[in-house]
């Protein structure tokens, strides 16, 4: 489970002053559900997810992941999450197998467990053909599969996806979306950030609309539509984040 309580991040900038990357963000994600963080570029999605993933330290508020506090127990938090983002790349000169094994070992797994886990993931994701090929030689789809295997090698309880389909072709993006669904099916706690309305609508059990670093509205897709009186999630989104922008 993920629980964020008034999570705040202020970036100090000598030229621009204090910038609130996240402003009192609160939400709760139960196991076996997908929580969507929907927002435009710069809305605060990545900052929020990086705080939950312990890559950034919150300025205020708190969060727990699988029962561990992100500030006091960051190593334990990271041991329980799989973090996949458009910005999390692969080591070009390692093979797919070496990449997965490296992260297995960083997660404290022994060689035998790593080998066994790679066998399972390779089978599940259909990686047999390219497991021993260097990442720099892989196609985009193969790279995505390798990244997924990397996030799953230690079988985490919580999955964090930060715009994972950004820049991907339709087929690769579909396979990612399918994988996210499978994570829910396996009872994992999933948080998924995106600015693509259709993805959010198809995938998420609950959605938090984030804008200017703060959660502006939260609920199921149906609840959000009902709240704004719109039949389309995109229209609901616009109405929530910029009501003055509507014709």
């Amino acid at each position: 489970m993920i629980e964020a309580r008034l999570l705040t991040k202020i970036f100090r900038d000598t030229k621009r002053g204090d910038i609130r990357g996240a402003d009192q963000v609160s939400f709760r994600v139960e196991p076996g559900t997908i929580y969507g963080l929907l927002g435009a570029n710069g809305a605060g999605k990545t900052t929020t997810l990086r705080m939950i993933g312990t890559l950034l330290r919150p300025t205020g508020g708190s969060a727990t992941v699988a029962g561990f506090d992100v500030v006091r127990e960051p190593d334990r938090v990271r041991a329980n999450i799989g973090f996949l983002a458009a910005s999390t790349a692969l080591y070009a000169r390692l093979t797919a197998r070496e990449m997965i094994a490296y992260f297995g070992r960083l997660n404290g797994m022994d060689d035998r467990s790593v080998r066994a886990r790679i066998g399972v993931l390779s089978e599940e994701l259909g990686m047999g053909d390219f497991l021993d090929r260097r990442c720099e030689k892989l196609s985009t789809g193969m790279k995505q599969k390798t990244s997924i295997a990397r996030t799953l090698v230690h079988d985490p309880q919580v999955m964090i996806f930060d715009e994972p389909t950004l820049g991907l072709d339709v087929m690769t993006a579909r396979s990612i979306v399918q994988f996210v669904r499978e994570c829910r099916g396996r009872g994992k706690t999933v948080i998924y950030s995106t600015h693509v309305m259709s993805e959010a609508e198809k995938l998420c059990d609950r959605i938090g609309i984030i804008h200017g670093g703060a959660i502006r509205a939260e609920g199921t897709v149906t609840e959000l539509k009902a709240r704004t009186g719109e039949s389309d999630l995109e229209e609901s989104f616009v109405r929530i984040v910029a009501p003055e922008a509507r014709p």
Binding site: R50, G53, L55, L56, R57, D75, R76, R78, A79, I81, F83, A85, S87, T88, A89, L90, Y91, A92, R93, L94, E98, Y102, F103, R105, L106, N107, G108, R150
Partner: protein, 400 residues
């Protein structure tokens, strides 16, 4: 701190680095070829140039000396000079390198020579120009020989022995062992290259493992793992240090092999004479020991600078001035007349350059050695602590 995680990061970085051609070039190829190419290649080229210049019969000009035909005839007859016809612009001809040197023979020179009261001959050359220098050296030899013969004749005519003008000879004998002679010759230049190569060896891996990872997006991937930041930075740092030390080791091995080859090819080894370019092996071991804290210092400073950068390009712009900051103190260390003292022993890089020079020439000042090793280790430790601190700072890692 978890040694297992540090080892995991180190092994991964080592594997990754060994697959990178650019790092291999800076770590192995450059150091291996650089030292012998520079020391022996340059020496060979210089020798060839000097030999060729010596073989050339220099074009010289005699200015004046119309009343000294015998001197002119002797100079032409010597076969060592191509005497050009006198010309009014002889100084310009020397500057234009059309004539290598000139000798101005004053009026009444030949007459005065026979009486033991000849006026001074003036030699003209283009200072700093090799062929002109050789030409004027030969002219000086010619006129010195002429003077000696004239002196001997004057003494003989007066019934005095020739030795009266030169009652004793001065001889010079070297008592230093060949390896110390070699140490003095190479003592300045070896530390220069070793220190420089330890910097060059660490440079590319330091950039690649920090700014390079940020640029490629693998840093964020790595930070998502539960590995502690300190373990990650230490694993990466150890790889940079390995590259630096390997560059030094490659250079020294290559130098050693080249020295053996030179000795074998010149036959000096067979005669039991290691030759003037031999070096005390203890001196080399001393240099290796002293270079370890320097390599730690370079690796940590380079890593910290590159870590701060957002991209490889930015990192390169930080690292380039560091190269000059290293070369200058090392170059000062080579200069003759600069000796170690307790103040200089605390100046980073310069202290290593000076103490390595001493060790290679067989001088072991243990007080200085301890002070330099200790102070450099302290600087290196501080730089490494800074690296760890920076790696733990999200302002550095996620700097935008």
């Amino acid at each position: 701190m978890n040694p297992g995680t540090i080892g995991t990061v180190y092994v991964k970085e080592l594997r990754d680095t060994l697959r990178d051609r650019r790092t291999l070039v800076s770590m192995i190829v450059v150091p291996t070829l650089f030292m012998p190419a520079l020391i022996f290649g340059m020496a060979k080229i210089a020798t060839a140039i000097v030999s060729k210049a010596r073989e050339e019969v220099p074009r010289v000009m005699l200015v004046g000396g119309a009343d000294s035909p015998a001197v002119r005839a002797e100079l032409e007859k010597s076969g060592k000079f191509a005497v050009e016809p006198a010309s009014g612009d002889w100084k310009q001809l020397i500057s234009d390198k059309k004539v290598r040197a000139a000798a101005e023979i004053p009026e009444g020179f030949e007459k005065g020579l026979g009486e033991g009261s000849a006026p001074a001959v003036t030699l003209y050359d283009y200072q700093g120009e090799l062929k002109s220098g050789l030409a004027v050296e030969q002219l000086r030899d010619f006129f010195t020989g002429l003077r000696d013969r004239a002196t001997a004749k004057l003494l003989k005519d007066r019934g005095l022995p020739a030795t009266i003008a030169r009652p004793f000879e001065v001889k010079q004998v070297n008592v230093a062992p060949p390896e110390k002679v070699g140490g003095n010759i190479l003592g300045g230049i070896i530390p220069y290259f070793i220190i420089f190569l330890s910097l060059v060896g660490a440079m590319y891996p330091a950039l690649d493992l920090s700014a390079g990872e940020k640029e490629r997006g693998t840093m964020e991937t790595l930070l998502c793992s539960p590995a502690a930041r300190t373990d990650i930075v230490l694993g990466k740092f150890l790889m940079v240090l390995t590259a630096s030390l390997f560059a030094v080791f490659s250079a020294l091995s290559s130098l050693g092999a080249t020295l053996l080859l030179v000795a074998a090819s010149s036959g000096t080894a067979a005669k039991g004479d290691p030759g003037m370019l031999s070096i005390d092996p203890l001196g080399i071991l001393g240099v290796l020991a002293m270079i370890v804290p320097v390599a730690v210092l370079f690796s940590a400073v380079l890593f910290a600078l590159a870590l701060f950068a957002k991209s490889l390009k930015e990192a390169q712009s930080y690292v380039t001035p560091l190269t000059f900051m290293v070369v200058v103190p090392v170059a000062i260390g080579i200069l003759p007349g600069i000796d170690l003292n307790y103040r200089l022993a605390l100046v980073p890089i310069l202290n290593i350059s000076l103490v390595c020079k001493e060790m290679l020439s067989g001088v072991w000042h243990w007080g200085y050695i301890g002070l330099i090793f200790g102070s450099t280790a302290l600087y290196a430790g501080s730089a490494l602590a800074l690296c760890v601190k920076m790696f733990r700072s999200e302002g550095v890692i996620f700097r935008t």
